[in-house]
């Protein structure tokens, strides 16, 4: 059991959800789309995120207008854009925010710097408070594989590729050759097991 530090409604097995809305300053309207565009296209920028291996899925979205569905919904014009952030991750909420503060300090500044009230990412205390103030609890959270953690999934996928040749050839190999190939597989794939 590793999922901790947040309301049980945000948790499904080992998976934790976090949902944050923040109000964006005028210049974020121009800056954020560029940031999103660039981040998606420059792998180097997400390398640390990948290495941290906490996150299954995450997204940042901008809400610029509220679609009008007819009365009794009032037609609403938003004064500011609002940024929606969601993440699906493993480990504790506290450790998650700590890791982002310490390791992705400039990334946090880039994504939240244009939001009202964003204190710096460090020290961690005020940043955690900011996230808590702007976080909304999920009413229902679902994961298709709640007990699996990210590194397990990545390992499982890698293992599948490594195991495939041996599965294909096992029957027709000579036992000694098989044993050697099996040993090579284990050695090669031990970080996946």
């Amino acid at each position: 059991m590793t999922a901790t530090g947040t309301s049980p409604r945000n948790i499904d097995g080992q998976a934790i959800s976090i949902t944050v809305f923040s109000t964006v300053k005028w210049w974020g309207r121009l800056f954020l789309p560029v940031l999103f565009f660039v981040t998606a296209r420059v792998p180097k920028l997400t390398r640390t995120l990948v290495q941290l291996s906490f996150i299954h899925f995450a997204r940042w979205s901008i809400v610029k207008e509220i679609p009008f569905n007819g009365p009794p919904q009032p037609k609403q014009k938003l004064n500011y854009p609002h940024m929606y952030f969601e993440s699906n991750f493993n480990g504790g909420w506290e450790e998650y925010i700590d890791a982002f503060s310490h390791i992705l300090t400039s990334g946090m500044a880039a994504f939240w710097g244009s939001s009202y009230g964003f204190p710096k990412a460090l020290p961690v205390g005020p940043f955690k408070e900011y996230i808590q103030d702007n976080e909304t609890e999920a009413s229902h959270y679902y994961s298709a594989y709640p007990h699996a953690t990210i590194t397990m999934i990545k390992s499982a996928l890698e293992l599948d590729d490594k195991l495939a040749p041996l599965k294909r050839n096992a029957k027709r190999m000579d036992p000694d050759a098989f044993a050697a190939a099996y040993e090579t597989l284990l050695t090669d794939a031990q970080r996946c097991l």
């Binding site: 999103f36 899925f57 997204r59 940024m83 969601e86 009202y116 009230g117």
Partner: protein, 186 residues
């Protein structure tokens, strides 16, 4: 025009619909969503291409005086967020969702303004798409893998670990026989 490719990472897609809640219905909606866990497996488990999804009620946009935000920007009407991280094509996914969730949808989107009266099928799908919010940046750690592939390979990993532990010390013939039986019998 919304940039739909920003919703993709690998074959995974990030869908979000933000729908206004009918006045007076917010508490009932919240209670209903919170009760889903108690009734058994999540209804979303019937939508097999869903990796992870959530329903979140957003009553308002938060604002503190210390933020020095000049104007108010309260959400005039509370919203229901439905966010899903799914496999493949959005249209066919929404078709599956609107069909599989037919029992629950009237209690969920049925409590939102503009939802078609029967809360199902093509009409529900159009309603959700009308209220879609595109991703600005979508990150998927294993965007190339579908739900079924994730589940299959996780199970296989468990199987191989258990096999590796118990087959230490077997002779090559025994090892091969056991392996074939476990992984290659077909």
């Amino acid at each position: 025009m919304p940039v739909r490719s920003a919703n993709r990472s690998g074959q995974a897609y990030g869908f979000l619909a933000m729908t206004p809640i009918k006045p007076g219905e917010i508490e009932a909606l919240q209670q209903y969503l919170e009760s889903l866990r108690e009734r058994g497996p999540s209804p979303l488990s019937r939508v097999s291409r869903t990796h992870m999804a959530r329903w979140v009620i957003v009553p308002k946009f938060h604002r503190k005086p210390a933020y020095r935000q000049r104007k108010d920007d309260m959400l005039e009407i509370p919203s229901l967020i439905f966010s899903s991280n799914l496999d493949g094509d959005l249209d066919s996914y929404l078709d599956e969702l609107c069909e599989a969730l037919a029992p629950e949808a009237p209690e969920i989107w049925g409590r939102c303004i503009g939802c078609p009266p029967e809360a199902k099928g093509a009409a529900l799908k159009e309603y959700l798409k009308f209220n879609q919010v595109d991703c600005g940046f979508f990150y998927a750690a294993y965007g190339q893998a579908t739900v079924s592939k994730v589940r299959r390979t996780l199970e296989q990993r468990d199987q191989l670990v258990a096999f590796a532990v118990r087959s230490q010390g077997l002779s090559p013939e025994e090892l091969q026989g056991a392996f074939v039986e476990e992984f290659a019998a077909s």
